[in-house]
């Protein structure tokens, strides 16, 4: 029907517009830039550019003693600082065969889970912002404030703490935390129901998130995704359950697992994890074992020669520390495995082919923090 020399429409040379979602962009979760080739509203290809927040933490680690390096670990995933500290301290303790006393383990679980709630509340606010609603951010930060007050009384800091030390915890948990948390436990479920009303049930929100950025199990394994991104696609994998650390096997809590792996499921998984973390902290506070809060640790920490890899369930996914020690004060080599690094690696695979608005929402659903991605 066509003559040979007639040019078919899609043979015409197409040059796409290269839009630069630059390091300074409202919804790239920190200093992260991706160059998107777009054809009208659809994104053809995404080229992520990272390294703007690269501080060379792994090189610094080789010139610091184990105690000196610990405050730097908070600066990795600054929204879930205590989880990083816990993972680092567990790694060093595994090297030196130190076991934290039960009270310290319980206090550490309380810190880690409260920090997870705070990080998920930031995610809730950011996800609202990505889809265009400004109010969830304020609601989320409003409740995060009570958790930060608890941290201020217990650990001293609000975002970065240096509270969990090698062998236990820096100071004992004050009784005021109990009263603060009881008040929080009474008020928070009411507010959480209010979030469900405000945004989770909202038809526009559901239309924006359902069946967007669907990721299957096999691809996620291959790309090395972890945490809520993995559980959103139906993988029953939570490191607190699979390799329990710091006494997690003592608490009974459930793991939310999504069904069809789209952005909405990842959102629901994280909102459900807030409820589960509340249960854990409540159980931990109820039967808090007595006893001292730190083990006997030599003043200068010199772990024996060897290498160890310990991983924890951080707020964004699997956080791991691979420490090679040659027996002297400084670690010989320290590799930090962070979830955001693998998730942004997957961005092109997950987000290209969608609209610009969807790509932004998919990036938001990975909940990446540039501190932990660039190290």
């Amino acid at each position: 029907m066509y003559e040979e020399n007639e040019i078919l429409l899609d043979d015409l040379p197409k040059d796409y517009m290269e839009v630069n979602f630059g390091p300074h962009h409202p919804s790239t979760h920190g200093v992260f830039r991706f160059i998107a080739k777009i054809d009208g509203e659809r994104i053809i290809d995404i080229d992520p550019v990272i390294g703007y927040l690269h501080r060379g933490i792994e090189k610094i680690a080789e010139n610091r003693t184990y105690m000196q390096f610990k405050p730097l670990v908070d600066r990795l995933d600054y929204t879930g600082a205590l989880n990083n500290e816990l993972c680092y301290c567990l790694a060093v303790e595994k090297l030196m065969d130190i076991e934290a006393p039960p009270r310290a383990q319980a206090i550490r679980v309380i810190c880690a889970e409260l920090n997870r709630i705070a990080a998920h509340l930031i995610f809730f606010g950011a996800m609202g912002l990505e889809t265009g609603a400004f109010t969830p951010l304020l609601f989320g930060f409003l409740d995060r404030e009570t958790i930060l007050n608890i941290f201020e009384i217990m650990a001293g800091g609000r975002l970065t703490f240096n509270y969990i030390t090698i062998g236990g915890v820096r100071e004992d948990i004050p009784p005021a935390v109990r009263t603060y948390f009881d008040k929080f436990k009474k008020e928070f479920p009411v507010k959480l129901k209010r979030y469900e009303e405000l945004i989770t049930g909202n038809e526009i929100f559901i239309k924006r998130l359902k069946n967007v950025g669907i990721l299957k199990k096999e691809d996620l394994f291959n790309w090395g995704a972890s945490g809520p991104v993995l559980r959103g696609s139906g993988v029953k994998f939570d490191i607190r359950k699979v390799e329990p650390y710091s006494g997690y096997e003592k608490y009974d809590f459930d793991i939310p697992v999504g069904t069809n792996g789209d952005v909405y499921d990842r959102y629901l998984v994280r909102m459900e994890e807030i409820k589960q973390s509340m249960r854990i902290v409540a159980q931990a506070l109820d039967n808090l074992p007595s006893g001292d809060f730190t083990a006997k640790v030599p003043r200068v920490i010199k772990p024996p020669e060897g290498e160890v890899y310990v991983r924890n369930e951080g707020t964004k996914g699997e956080v791991g520390f691979y420490i090679v020690s040659k027996g002297d004060k400084n670690p010989y080599r320290l590799k930090i495995r962070t979830p955001s690094f693998s998730h942004i690696n997957m961005l092109n695979f997950a987000a290209s082919g969608n609209y610009i608005a969807d790509a932004i929402v998919i990036l938001g659903s990975f909940d990446t923090v540039m501190g932990s991605c660039d190290r």
Binding site: T65, Q68, E152, A155, G156, N162, R194, E197, G201
Partner: protein, 152 residues
């Protein structure tokens, strides 16, 4: 029905509209900071008029500070450090110096309101470290009109 999610969302914001706002007016009202708050580090002093510091200038805190922001210089035979500066531009308030000090001559206060116009404003000498921070400004309470509203 299709619109219920939207209507529930509207109900939430309306309830927020008629409930009390939670923001505090920062320079006039202040949220109280827990007693373990990470504020500026202070040198402990045993007596005031001939200022005698508990610190003996041994320099352990200088060696242990991850950010190398403490500088201690002491002449031999002296009991007190001749120069003791803390560079708050670099300090990350990790309290390692307080832990390792054998004479517990350092303590952490809760005052974190310090402003400076240049990098040199953040390098504090001995004398400034010993005094209570002079930068907490006692602001006058908001005008009557606001106060009434703030109370509601």
């Amino acid at each position: 029905m299709l619109g219920t999610g939207l209507l529930k969302g509207l109900k939430t914001t309306l309830r927020a509209f008629f409930s009390r706002p939670v923001t505090i007016m920062y320079p006039y009202e202040r949220a109280e900071i827990g007693n373990r708050g990470q504020g500026l580090i202070k040198l402990r002093v045993t007596s005031i008029d001939p200022i005698i510091y508990k610190c003996t200038g041994c320099g352990i805190c200088e060696k242990n500070c991850p950010q190398r922001c403490i500088e201690v210089i002491k002449k031999e035979g002296e009991k007190q450090p001749e120069i003791y500066t803390v560079n708050y531009g670099l300090c990350m308030f990790c309290r390692i110096c307080i832990d390792v000090c054998p004479f517990n001559a350092l303590e952490m206060t809760q005052d974190s309101e310090h402003i400076g116009y240049g990098r040199q404003d953040f390098i504090w000498e001995k004398e400034k470290l010993a005094m209570k921070s002079i930068y907490i400004i006692e602001e006058k309470a908001p005008s009557a009109g606001d106060a009434g509203e703030a109370g509601s």
